[in-house]
């Protein structure tokens, strides 16, 4: 187990190094000059040159990247070009909100997605199965910006059940979580349905029924633990999908997470923030996958550490 963890952590570090290199290179190659953005329209060439030198942007790529890595090792993500504040403090001020949103969304999509998937599998081929699967298809296909605004309009403006955007209470969390969960639950329900159908065909289910166990007990004790295994691995992958989704959802709901921060930084070529958010998201994905793998280990004794 310790071996496995060490190996996986080393792999993760390599992945993060690769992500940092690729992102840094892409930003370096971007046909937009951050110094011009900082210096403004009235700047003299002298001012522009001064700022370029102060930020070290006059150095060759390798030197810039090396400096960035050295700072990174000391957990220093640099200072924002435009806000002048430390990127670590900007990100850490916003991380709790994004994590909360992610937790809310994963909870909602598991509850909705798994329920839909199980019901569809149990009534396979029925009208309910078909309508649930059509609903999940709509959920997967619907653009989150539109879904978010629709939910806001119906449940916050018209029905007044939830606040119109913002952050703070549990009520604020419901609509943005649901917006993210509608997409995710579509995937989970389809996955759960096929996994469940597969398991229900197995001999041990027939045996369980033959032993005279109740339908509910067969389902919950024998079928579900087996059917849910692929879902656990999927949650890890899901973290990556969320990182994309929260940019949109956070902006619709005024949710103060790192998605908003990234979006504004991208528009203004604020490279330290873009790098910081990318690395933090990459970390989240790597950790998500690692946790999912470990969880699978415990959930499924058939998986062996190699």
């Amino acid at each position: 187990m310790v071996d496995f963890l060490t190996r996986r952590l080393m792999q993760s570090a390599l992945i993060l190094l690769g992500v940092s290199l690729i992102t840094f290179a892409l930003l370096y190659l971007l046909p937009a000059d951050p110094v011009r953005q900082i210096a403004g329209r009235s700047a003299t060439p002298q001012t522009v040159a001064n700022i370029r030198e102060q930020l070290g942007l006059d150095q060759p790529f390798i030197v810039q990247y090396w400096r960035y890595l050295l700072n990174l090792l000391q957990a220093d993500l640099g200072r924002s070009y435009l806000q002048k504040t430390e990127v670590t403090s900007l990100i850490s001020a916003r991380i709790p909100a994004s994590l909360l949103l992610m937790a809310g969304a994963i909870f909602c999509e598991l509850v909705i997605g798994l329920t839909m998937g199980i019901l569809a599998a149990l009534r396979r081929g029925s009208t309910m199965d078909n309508s649930l699967m059509i609903a999940s298809f709509v959920g997967v296909s619907a653009p989150q910006f539109v879904v978010g605004l629709l939910l806001l309009y119906v449940f916050a403006v018209q029905l007044n059940w939830f606040p119109i955007g913002g952050y703070g209470t549990l009520a604020h969390l419901v609509l943005p979580s649901m917006t993210l969960a509608i997409l995710g639950s579509g995937w989970y329900s389809r996955m759960m349905r096929s996994s469940m159908i597969e398991v229900l065909r197995q001999d041990f289910i027939r045996t369980a029924h033959a032993k005279g166990l109740s339908k509910m007990r067969v389902l919950l004790r024998h079928a579900l633990p087996n059917a849910i295994l692929p879902i656990i691995a999927m949650i890890g992958i899901d973290v990556g999908i969320f990182m994309g989704g929260i940019v949109v959802v956070e902006s619709v709901f005024g949710w103060p997470g790192i998605g908003q921060l990234a979006w504004q930084a991208i528009q203004r070529v604020d490279i330290p923030i873009i790098m910081g958010v990318t690395l933090v998201s990459a970390c989240a994905i790597v950790i998500g996958n690692l946790v999912a793998d470990i969880a699978s280990l415990f959930a499924d004794p058939r998986i062996k550490i190699r």
């Binding site: 046909p31 000059d33 329209r41 700047a43 001012t47 806000q83 002048k84 916003r94 119109i164």
Partner: protein, 546 residues
Amino acid sequence: MKKFLISTALCGSLILPATAFSDAHSDMDPNAKTGGNIIITYKDDVATLDPAIGYDWQNWSMIKSLYDGLMDYRPGTTDLRPGLAENYSVSDDGMVFTFKIRPGVKFHNGREMSAEDVKYSLDRVTNPVTQSPGAGFFASINGFDAISNGETDTLSGVSVIDPLTLKITLSRPDATFLHVMGLNFASVVAKEAVEQAGADFGKTAMGTGAFKLGEWTIGQRLVFEKNEDYWREGLPYLDSVTFEVGQEPIVALLRLQNGEVDVPGDGIPPAKFQEVMSDPDQAARVIEGGQLHTGYITLNVKMPPFDNVLVRKAVNMAINKERITQVINGRAVPATQPLPPSMPGYTEGYEGYAFDPAAAKKLLADAGFPEGFETELFVMNTDPNPRIAQAIQQDLSNVGIKASIQSLAQASVIAAGGEADQAPMIWSGGMAWIADFPDASNFYGPILGCAGAVQGGWNWSWYCNQEIDAMATEADSMTDPDAVEARLQTWSDIYMKVMEDAPWVPVFNEQRYTMRSGRMGGADSLYVDPVSIPVNYDYVYVNDVQ
């Protein structure tokens, strides 16, 4: 997005002695009530409140309320008035300004503000270490070059005579200098607060303004609290202002309709405009204001075929500006020239190039392109700009010009415009020029003059006419109060000559539309204040208190 100041002030007031201004109290509203809190929303987070750095839509008027400079503007207008300067005098040659500082003005920390603080603030904003986007505005102060080269860290042209007297010497006559002293970049900051906060100063605030910074929860909310010791007596009317950031304009409007918000800082979103205007109750609370803005298409004179003036004129005639204003729900007026109509120096009666596709085709044939040609139109990728680009594309195709649209992020369009051989045509929307201060010169230098036609510059048409540049220099040297009319005439002539060479297609001048809640009071002009953009928080009030 950058945002810049506006106004219709008479340049004439520039050089008049301060006694020409009446006292501050005449700007008080007799109906105003004191107290209460309002909620303003913005989509983008506030990047900084450092007056040397802030240059955004949302922080411009916030900084105006937290800080003061030597000069200021009457609320809702573009008329200059003294701010922290009680009065000032100008030498006969217009090169030396002596400011008398208002006594007894206190920073939010209770310390009295003096001429030393003004000097410190000007040294700080011009020092390249500060990285201020506004440093270039102070280029006419003596010693600017030395400080921006890093040779020194103090402006030799700014000297403290006594704690309440400051003398500023210029290196060249500058008719716009008092406007520069009214910019946010010239705000007076408290040295001890800057030194204490270091690089994080932008997340704090220490000025002499009507409000002080109460709470700031990053990414969520800022609260400004009334400065009880504010030197303009009776102001501000409000006890506090809450800014909620990260709110989509559509969501902000829904909240306004629900009574949760007082002013949507980003205005009425285009998609909702018709709905709002068709409801009499809401339409009554909509406020319209002009801005010193021109939206234009740049034609790169260094890239064939736009090096041919006939082609540039043909493009000017091919564009149906009336129809383009309809793309944005008529929230603009068609433009004929670079200056917007409310800017002094605007040429009345000039028709520009009228929409005439037949004549445009003929000009193209004369220029040797009877079949038209292929080119590229660069545009920023946020609504409504791609839609406007499509309208332009269609107009061009009617005269045989096939333009492919390059829809890119703002920074990439700006970068392409700053290269001599990359962008044949750029639609300026989303990056367009809004005046930093209300003076005709502000539409020339960086965007039409030779100084801007350099790599990384803002003159995206790469138009450089030495003769016109010389006229501009001459106009800005006319600091004599009696020469105001002559100076405006020179600027008018300059823009007419530019139009003869047609490096731009001036398309429209945008109007600003905003809205307020039913409980808010104060003149309409405060909500579309040309200087304290977008709202002048110091002078607005609410009716449901007391």
